[in-house]
Amino acid sequence: MLTLDRVTKTFRTGTFSGSSVTAVDRVSFTVGRGEVVTLLGESGSGKSTLGRMILGLTPVTAGSLTLGGEPVRSGREYYRRVQGIFQDPFSCFNPVFKADRVFALVKEAYYPRVSAADWRGRVERAVRDVRLDPGQVLNKYPHQLSGGQLQRLLIARALLLDGLEFLVADEITSMLDASTRVDVLNLLGDLRERGLGVLYITHDLALGTYLAEQTVVLRGGRITERGATEKVFGNPMHPYTRHLLAAVPRLGVDWVDAEPVGSCVFHDAGAEGELHEAEPDHFVACAQLPGCPGH
């Protein structure tokens, strides 16, 4: 289980200057085993920073981030349990090497003793698990494969690790074509059956709701609303969530104007970063709502 407790990240804007920017501000939530949680936010919401902190690629400024009770740290042992997949599949593969090098790196780091033949078998199995034909994708250069194929290879790479507990998927479908996007999402959903926890980071509301039981809406580094997906989107309470929902273009549904977000006075979560529980499994940060500590 991944637990975030008042996780905060501040970046200094210059090496020698004192000013700083808070990218993530006291964010708390948990992701259980076999659970998919969507982290929804627009650009600048801090969602990718949060993902990078979970992966140990960016240090946490304050708060605690634990996986199964142990604090997050970068390093070989941690990455046996936690892996990530990123937005741009073409950027994830070093263009001067063949695409299967991502598998070779895993072998080198974690399974140096496994025989080549045995390893090849494992790779082919993982590749088939992501519904690719090993003969078509192995031994090729990244530019010879499509974005969808590359993204699946990255999922296969994560599957090679036996001890994998958690996967961060940061915008993994935003550069894919509509016709392959949903297939990659389905693969991500299937990981749940393997007992993995998945944090699916996206700006696309429709994709987010498709996959996850739980949704966290992030804005300006803070959580505005979180809870069960059907509650957050079936009964959005925070003006920002409503605004987002209204802005998303939907087939066959007219665009309606939501109330302007600008009028929303943020409930300053205070030192505790607590949200107001509007109904069971549905938490909101909004001073406008009755029952909110800031009301």
Partner: protein
């Protein structure tokens, strides 16, 4: 002298970039349906390299001069290029291909030995500068933060100081009297522009996701730099080395000409210096000062031209025109 190459920092990004899955480019689509198997990056590069006249001509000229420097001395009569071997101040002839100096030294003998010194100082100076530039550029660009600030500051300081002036002082006091030592000091002073360029490249590469992916495979900093980032800019590093190589040759020739050259050997710059010192100009001994100048210009010019060819080979944007 031209420590800074005429090309400057390349305007175009030579780093190999994969075509993103956008609709912007030609739809060279992916996939199994491709009739002719696409070439691997290495094979593709070779394909263009063998069809690039600039690269081929440049390399051919360098190669011919290199072979002359390597094997020319073996064809000579004696081991001493400065030996007084014949009539004084005679023009080119069958016996003395490049004529003789006012002292009766064979200019061709000096030329072939001088080529050796020229290549040696290029390799040593260019090599040392390239190593320093890579270390500074890679670590400043990859680590960022305070290390970057400090290294960048250092780079800028060494960049601003005219390297020839520093070399003058160093050579004058310490009496640098052999080609390798000369190369060493040239290397120590001519790396900054290359370090800046490599830093900028590294800086843009380190945000690529494959660097993060390597970290997620437990790779450490040095391994990421040399196994992920460096291979991506190998063409760029090679081109940088060529420019540093040419730059070292030019600086060395200037030092030689001022009278701070190696005392234990012959170099093309020293030939120019003695031609100047002993009034070859006024005496009309053109065969004394033309060959060394042609030699330096040919080596450096051919390297530059080959470099432009390489840029065209590695940079798909420049291929078409």
């Amino acid at each position: 002298m031209n420590a800074m190459p005429p090309l400057g920092e390349p305007a175009s990004e030579p780093v190999a970039t994969a075509q993103p899955a956008s609709d912007a480019g030609p739809p060279l689509a992916s996939g199994a349906a491709e009739p002719s198997a696409p070439l691997s990056p290495t094979r593709e590069t070779l394909h263009y390299a063998l069809r690039n006249p600039k690269l081929l001509i440049g390399l051919a000229v360098v190669l011919v001069l290199l072979l002359t420097g390597l094997f020319g001395p073996l064809l000579l009569d004696g081991p001493d290029p400065n030996a007084y071997s014949g009539a004084q101040a005679v023009g080119p002839s069958g016996e003395h291909w490049f004529g003789t100096t006012t002292f009766g030294q064979d200019v061709f003998a000096q030329f072939v030995y001088g080529l050796r010194a020229t290549f040696l100082v290029g390799v040593i100076g260019g090599g040392i500068a390239a190593v320093i530039a890579m270390l500074v550029g890679f670590f400043a660009g990859y680590r960022g933060g305070v290390l970057d600030e400090v290294l960048t500051m250092l780079t800028n300081i060494v960049l601003v100081i005219p390297s020839l002036a520093v070399l003058l002082i160093v050579n004058a006091y310490l009496g640098v009297r052999s080609v390798p030592v000369q190369g060493l000091f040239i290397g120590l002073t001519s790396w900054p522009w290359a370090a800046r360029a490599i830093r900028a490249q590294t800086f843009s590469l380190r945000t690529r996701d494959f660097v993060d992916l390597a970290r997620l495979s437990g790779s450490r900093t040095w391994k990421i730099i040399f196994r992920e980032i460096a291979p991506n800019m190998s063409s760029y590093l090679f081109m940088t080395f060529i420019l540093l190589f040419g730059g070292s040759i030019l600086i060395a020739s200037s030092l030689d000409f001022i009278g701070l050259g190696p005392t234990d050997s012959v170099s093309l710059g020293l030939m120019l210096q003695s031609a100047q010192q002993w009034s070859a100009l006024q005496l009309g001994l053109w065969w004394w000062f033309v060959p060394p100048g042609v030699g330096i210009t040919a080596v450096v010019g051919a390297l530059y031209v080959a470099n432009v060819g390489l840029d065209e080979v590695f940079n798909p944007k420049l291929r078409e025109s």
